[in-house]
């Protein structure tokens, strides 16, 4: 990244109006344009690709954005959303004042929104917090966070909720996005996040996409894939999906499979690897063990149906008992003629697993023959079976060829899956068996959806069970480590994991959470089975605060709306899907009284004293060594703190933080809205980042100092960063300084690295065996999802995104050209299914499930998706086509991530 750019090159890159000095001026000092614009580097607001951008500002406004030719991620290119980074903050209905529901001059849940001062907003917010906390303790309050939090915002939220309130009820929207990827990383490698990086795209020979429509969801990564495919005739693309999508247009092979059959296809590939003798025996013997876990784990549905709609009850029953189909019995190696009723006995212990022998693993794969798998996996009823079989065989050929490098990419198709953790693990199963993992151009690679799903949600640990740098709240060593860094008395941190984001909604409905603060997300639009949650929010006794930049659907159900600053109105940092951390400077000021999310957390923390939150607290169900059952002990403030010390002083304005001064020369004259609004002489974003770094240093999560990321010649760095050097391939001793020298490969993660031995039926008695440095090859069986099309609800529903819109559309639908391109969410329906229902393209249809019904306009042929008969696709960006009222809130029982990709619906004509 040290090469210099000439004026000519800049002009050719599209910087057509740039004024550049003598040849050889490096890009970082991109000169002001003739128009007087000034440019600074930044990162795209949208997906997990993390494209580098250059931002132009003029007279206090963002005026343009360009792809950064120096960024190794996107080399000067941006997608349609990327260019809109310049426009997203300028919608005319930006929120600029706090809004509170009021009647007769005071807060009333049934009132309408009136502008209030920040003081009044925080006064009411605090009074309501105290009311919920007094009634229910730390579990009665919650914060919903985000994979779009900046690193510093997420870290501040962790401190406020976990260290301050001693609650673990902090969970991000990233739970909906890549929790399954996290769980599989932890179970397979003992540590989170990918071994590979985006360089693999150019280094590999075959790209296999599984449930990843990169062409629409990661367009600039797809541009790299297509570029490489066009350059190299031997390069191949295989697209596995449940409907024909935009990736199919460049793919060499498209495999349309039946929803959930991905598990069976992986097992077929693994069986072929064994049958063809394609196992990398040396790699497996040195670096891997075999494992499995319980199969009767339920579907993450509610355990009781007290609040269920009548129509929901039959599906909820499958959380308790499943009657296996004949195929499901065969897939588990059971006698299909035997009893097939299975109590879901391991529903609460889905994460348990144990070691098995290679022979057991091989035996478990035996049912997954080509005939068996093709029979259950073919997704397009109009495709001949022989053709489908030939494609599966070709897929196995691609993987098994020792002469070809292979990368498997996946996104929401795997992660949003009631067997999401399993299917992620199966990808590693195949790559590990082949020795095609953690090598340049080879590996199973989980793509993330959000810009800082990795950087914030995962690395900072804004999950209800996590602490920074892969720490777990239920691990006493991780708690002690966090307490030491944060200067907390021992046993301050709560050892019981909090509610995940889906559970928070269920808790809201059950009255177990009565105070909720939503930050940088739109959960009432994005959570499946939404009719329950909007009803609970509006009609029960609770208090909901939503911080956002525009009035979102969640704002409409809120009691208090707080106006926030947008990405370039604050300092921040994101971490992308390849472990690349990228920081940016604030470019412009937030409008009106809008404030940074970080300022909101700091300011709110001033309203709590240690005496109020660090006394003995009830935590129902808490059971941990060193703690009394059901409660947290009172802890004594120490180190100069007293019961009257505020959480602000105890957690944020610490002596170390105050020593990080604002203004700072790294700002190069840019402002800081957090410091200005708080009248601070310290630099909160930098202080928090430097403190957060302490968690990761020395064990493979190493981040560089704050200032290095802002250096002119840096375009983000992939952690671990050791001695200023980034790491492209983890666990590979040639690249990763944490892999033991001479080991070749070292899967050094420490989570769940002592396991009992057992067989396919379960663990055997005996002491757990340590497996340091090893990755696990899991056997996981195929199973049907909890809800299948039937006579009443006869179609599969798959939901997702479109290229032009980000998530719930709150930013991109306010960008004129993006809205005009895709003005509303459509129902993609096969022409024959449309005809059978008397529907034509453009007409209005009802989409109805057991949980709710909505309307959308029909799209049939043409356009970007071609669905097979029996399946429909509806994007979720459009609050006017509220598809999450219809979708099912089943989750992976291990990761707790919702399966937004499959449930059963019926479609009828709107009369």
């Amino acid at each position: 990244m040290s090469w210099k750019l000439t004026r000519r090159q800049l002009l050719e890159a599209g910087f057509t109006t740039a004024v550049v000095g003598a040849a050889g001026v490096p890009l970082p000092v991109l000169p002001a344009e003739a128009k007087g614009w000034s440019w600074d580097k930044g990162v795209c607001r949208f997906c997990g690709t993390g494209c580098g951008i250059q931002i132009a500002t003029h007279e206090g406004r963002v005026v343009a954005v360009k792809g950064d030719p120096q960024s190794p991620v996107n080399r000067g290119l941006l997608c349609a959303k990327g260019y809109a980074n310049a426009q997203i903050q300028y919608g005319e209905d930006r929120l600029t004042r706090p809004l509170l529901r009021k009647k007769d001059g005071k807060f009333d849940k049934q009132g309408d929104f009136e502008p209030v001062s920040w003081k009044e907003a925080f006064d009411v917010m605090k009074a309501e917090w105290t009311r919920a906390h007094r009634a229910l303790g730390p579990t009665g309050v919650a914060v919903m966070g985000s994979g779009q939090y900046t690193i510093m915002e997420g870290y501040a939220a962790v401190k406020l909720v976990k260290a301050g309130w001693r609650s673990n009820n902090l969970d991000p929207n990233a739970r909906h996005c890549m929790a399954s990827a996290v769980a599989a990383f932890m179970q397979t490698f003992g540590v989170d996040e990918p071994s590979g990086c985006f360089d693999d795209i150019e280094l590999t020979d075959t790209v296999v996409t599984w449930g990843a429509n990169m062409a629409e969801m990661h367009p600039m990564l797809w541009a790299r894939v297509v570029d490489e495919r066009l350059r190299r005739p031997g390069y191949r693309i295989v697209n596995l999906t449940t409907y024909s999508n935009a990736c199919s247009e460049a793919a060499d092979v498209e495999i349309v499979f039946r929803p959930n059959a991905d598990l069976a296809i992986w097992n077929y590939v693994a069986r072929e690897i064994l049958a063809r003798g394609a196992v990398d025996k040396d790699f497996v013997a040195k670096h891997c063990v075999f494992a499995t876990g319980p199969a009767d784990i339920g579907f993450g549905l509610r355990e009781n149906d007290a609040k269920a709609f009548a129509a929901e009850k039959d599906v909820l029953q499958r959380q308790r008992t499943v009657v296996l189909t004949k195929e499901e019995a065969i897939a588990r190696g059971l006698d299909p003629a035997g009893p097939r009723e299975r109590p879901q006995a391991a529903a609460g212990a889905a994460q348990k697993h144990w070691l098995i022998s290679f022979e057991d693993f091989e035996r478990a794969l035996q049912p997954y023959t080509l005939d068996f798998v093709a029979g259950l996996a073919k997704g397009d009823p109009d495709e001949p079976l022989d053709q489908f079989k030939a494609k599966l065989k070709l897929l196995a050929d691609e993987y098994c060829d020792p002469g070809r490098k292979t990368v498997s990419f996946w996104t929401m198709g795997f992660n949003q899956h009631t067997r999401g953790t399993w299917v992620n693990e199966q990808a590693y199963m195949v790559h590990l068996l082949l020795g095609k993992q953690a090598k340049p151009g080879q590996g199973a690679f989980s793509l993330t959806g959000q810009p800082s799903a990795c950087g914030t949600a995962r690395e900072v640990g804004t999950f209800s069970h996590r602490l920074p740098a892969d720490g777990q709240v239920d691990d006493p060593r991780d708690r002690a480590h966090a307490e030491a860094i944060w200067g907390l008395p021992p046993r301050t941190l709560n050892p019981k994991p909090g509610s995940h984001i889906v559970q928070m909604m269920r808790d809201l409905e059950d009255g177990k959470i009565r105070w909720l603060w939503v930050q940088v997300t739109n959960p009432f639009q994005s959570t499946a089975n939404a009719n329950h949650w909007i009803e609970a929010a509006r009609k029960q006794d609770n208090f909901i605060v939503v911080s956002d930049v525009y009035p979102t659907l969640s704002c409409k159900v809120a009691d208090l709306i707080l106006p926030s600053a947008m990405i370039f109105e604050k300092w921040g940092g994101y971490g992308n899907a390849e472990r690349r951390t990228q920081l940016w400077r604030q470019q412009v000021q937030p409008p009106g009284e809008a404030r940074t999310d970080l300022w909101q957390v700091l300011e709110f923390s001033k309203r709590f004293t240690l005496g109020e939150v660090w006394g003995e607290q009830p935590v129902p169900g808490l059971e941990a060594e060193g703690f009394d059952k059901g409660k947290l002990p009172a802890v004594e403030p120490a180190g100069g703190r007293t019961a009257a010390t505020t959480l602000y002083d105890a957690l944020f304005a610490t002596p170390e933080a105050l020593a990080v001064k604002w203004p700072d020369k790294v700002a190069k004259g840019k402002r800081n809205a957090t410091a200005e609004a708080g009248k601070l002489a310290w630099f909160p974003e930098k202080a928090l980042f430097e403190e957060y770094r302490k968690f990761g240093l020395g064990h493979g999560h190493d981040l560089a100092p704050f200032d290095l990321y802002l250096a002119d010649d840096v375009r983000g760095l992939r952690w671990p960063v050791v001695g200023g050097k980034e790491t492209a391939w983890r666990f590979n001793a040639d690249h990763d300084p944490f892999a033991a020298k001479g080991s070749g490969f070292d899967f050094y993660g420490t989570f769940a690295k002592k396991l009992p031995k057992g067989d396919l039926a379960g663990p055997a008695p005996g002491d757990p065996v340590p497996i340091p440095g090893k990755a696990k090859i899991f056997f996981r069986p195929w199973q049907e999802p909890p809800e299948l099309p039937d006579a009443t609800y006869d179609l599969w529903l798959c939901t997702g995104r479109v290229l032009e819109h980000w998530h719930s559309g709150t930013m991109t639908r306010r960008v004129p050209q993006l809205h005009a391109a895709v003005p509303e969410a459509l129902l993609w329906l096969h022409p024959k299914d449309a005809e059978a229902r008397g529907l034509a393209a453009g007409e209005l249809a009802w989409i109805e499930s057991r949980r709710g019904k909505i309307q959308a306009r029909v799209a049939t042929t043409g356009g970007r998706n071609r669905v097979p008969r029996g399946l429909v696709y509806v994007p979720w960006f459009d609050e006017g086509v509220f598809i999450n009222k219809v979708a099912l809130d089943a989750t992976c029982p291990i990761s707790k991530q919702t399966d937004f990709k499959k449930c059963a619906v019926r479609v009828t004509r709107v009369a």
Partner: protein
């Protein structure tokens, strides 16, 4: 009609929020769908651009820094596959633009920053093959909310 009504409501809401003694705003008036969260709206009809290439005048660009939208119908020209790219077939012209001819790819599209440090190639850079990743089609849908973006 619906869009107009929505715009009027939005103006009312915005004005209400901006005034010193504002009228309270109902939740249904907030956001992009002027409806209660319990309502089930009927999404409005819209029409994709139907004009043939060159049939109408080019729309004014929002900014020279934002890729121009596709001003003509796209149905006949998609999908872009490995073998077939109708956009490139028409638009890969040496330039400058001549009246009555397709808009030529700008010079930036020939620079390869991935492999050649920005060297200008004879053909467009491979990373730009999927034109619709950056250039969006259009419909007759009117904006839901005004934009204060000024380049």
């Amino acid at each position: 009609m619906r869009t107009l009504a929505a715009a009027a409501l939005l103006l009312a809401a915005t004005a209400a929020l901006a005034a010193d003694k504002p009228a309270p705003v109902k939740d249904a008036q907030l956001g992009l769908s002027k409806a209660s969260v319990f309502d089930v709206p009927s999404p409005p009809a819209f029409k994709a651009e139907e004009g043939a290439p060159g049939a109408g005048p080019l729309p004014r660009r929002i900014s020279t820094e934002i890729p121009p939208v596709i001003p003509h119908a796209v149905a006949d020209f998609l999908p872009i596959t490995r073998e077939q790219n109708s956009c490139i077939d028409c638009h890969e012209l040496p330039g400058p633009k001549k009246k009555g001819e397709p808009t030529p790819l700008p010079r930036s599209h020939y620079a390869d920053w991935r492999h050649d440090q920005g060297k200008i190639l004879e053909k467009h850079a491979g990373g730009r093959w999927v034109c619709i990743s950056c250039h969006v089609p259009r419909t007759d849908a009117k904006p839901l909310v005004g934009s204060r973006f000024r380049p």
